[in-house]
Symmetry: C2
Subunit: 299 residues, 2 copies
């Protein structure tokens, strides 16, 4: 059966039936808006939207389960960057009418599986026809404590720069199966003063200059220390993108305690010091293999 | 200049520069997530996402200003349906790299103009390449008082059904220039007990059965009473869609007071009783010219 054979109500009814909804949801799928409990007033609301597009973020023929996983996990990776807790998600699916209903159901299975992994409730879903490729837009709402949110902007001269995990090689498979570093990020901001943080989506070579620019400082990267995925060169590792690891800046005074406690808490996830923040002017010319930049033509 | 000539940072920098941000916004465009003040804890959070797609919701050649207006106002119309107050919006723009940057700037001017009309802050923007048509997904977050939110579900047998404005003919022009009935909806729930409400996006012939079904009642529509736009037939008026007027159910005891006070408060906007809610089984067979149903082939 194809989407064109179903009405929107019927489709949404099938997709959203039996969604596990938190008790904080007063009105969910099927109404004009979703209505949910506000977080405690001591906390801040956190909002993020992102999308995946066929032919850009996934190829035709990719497992719909993987596509759904990725569509949910990309904005959740931004929650990790912010050290925020995601709670509610809204999905907009744009799909041609010849799309198989089975494919869409599998997509939602991936979305639900990813949401469940982080206790996120899918509280709204929209569908629209499109004459073009399939696109899924996911918006996520959550919260963070006032004294705990991280941004790209607080890095200080002299801060150590760390990354989680290994970089590079993500386009083979990891970009469809990654787990946002929310647990790690929440642990970091609970136990340390994290000056600046972001998730690596476009490659360290693009993202590190962004963090430095937002913090109004320069940076020095130690290429020889990069934690490379197996079979990856350093050039590829900083330019390919889609790592969805954390990059953060922290006072060098915290380095020993951080490395010691991290090793105990997350023994299976490397944490690597890859450089430091420095005075402007930046030396980012050393980084010339640029990361992936949306819209920019490969030269 | 085309999108392909700009990097994403540069594009977003240009689009989001000088956005008027409310003081409740702690982190906005340019960071991984938007971070905003929570509403008062006595209120509920309201969430909605929606999209407009080239070739479906607007035609190539449509003024970008109009497209931006529509992309923002569609989810705001759902806020009207819920009697909620919108506060923050996130935009995801999917566009081919040959799109003119001037077009995108004009789109954002439309988005901003619409947002400003209802004091909404655009707190996040994402862009993605697409090989297909332009698509804009807008997510909106806001709030509503616990005792004041409306849904489709509370209609009771015997309730009068009212619609605002005139129906039909929207596809000519109104669908790009409409104003969501937020002020009217907020006034209604402040002064009356509104049992059920929704906005008319797919045509009364599709939307009224949805309200009745959600309320688990039937309905009777008085076709001769329909408030028709000039040059429209009743059949067209209930099937074309994109009216973005309010449909609501209210006790017949309130009818006289409602009509009298409405006329004083909104002298330029018709309010028309178009029928009532009845016992099941519904008589919706009288409504056979169906409204627009996403994905369904015209037969």
């Amino acid at each position: 059966m194809r989407l064109g054979d179903l009405g929107e109500d019927q489709l949404l009814g099938q997709l959203l039936f039996n969604l596990p909804l938190a008790r904080t949801v007063a009105a969910g799928p099927g109404d004009d808006c979703a209505i949910v409990e506000t977080p405690d007033h001591r906390e801040l609301l956190v909002l993020k939207t992102d999308c995946v597009v066929e032919g850009v973020h996934f190829l035709r023929g990719t497992s719909a389960l993987d596509v759904g996983w990725k569509a949910m996990m990309r904005p959740l990776s931004d929650f990790a960057a912010t050290s925020a807790v995601p709670q509610f998600a809204l999905i907009t699916l744009m799909a041609p009418k010849q799309t198989e209903v089975a494919w869409v159901k599998e997509l939602y299975r991936g979305l639900r599986r990813a949401a469940t992994r982080f206790k996120v409730s899918i509280v709204g879903g929209e569908t629209s026809r499109t004459p073009g490729p399939i696109a899924i837009s996911t918006s996520v709402v959550g919260w963070v404590e006032r004294d705990r949110w991280a941004s790209r902007r607080g890095g200080k001269v002299g801060d150590d720069l760390f990354v989680t995990g290994r970089l590079g090689g993500a386009l083979k498979r990891k970009h469809l199966r990654f787990t946002p570093r929310i647990a790690e990020s929440r642990w970091l901001t609970k136990n340390f003063s994290i000056h600046a943080m972001m998730d690596l989506s476009d490659g360290l070579g693009t993202d590190l200059p962004r963090l430095a620019r937002a913090s109004k400082v320069g940076f020095e990267m130690e290429m020889k220390n990069l934690p490379l995925a197996r079979g990856t060169t350093a050039d590829d590792a900083i330019s390919e993108g889609e790592d969805y690891e954390l990059l953060f800046a922290i006072s060098p005074r915290d380095r020993n305690r951080l490395e010691r406690q991290w090793g105990k808490k997350f023994p299976n996830l490397p944490l690597t010091r890859i450089g430091s923040l420095s005075q402007l002017p930046t030396k980012d010319r050393q980084l010339l293999p640029r990361g992936y930049v949306h819209f920019q033509q490969p030269s």
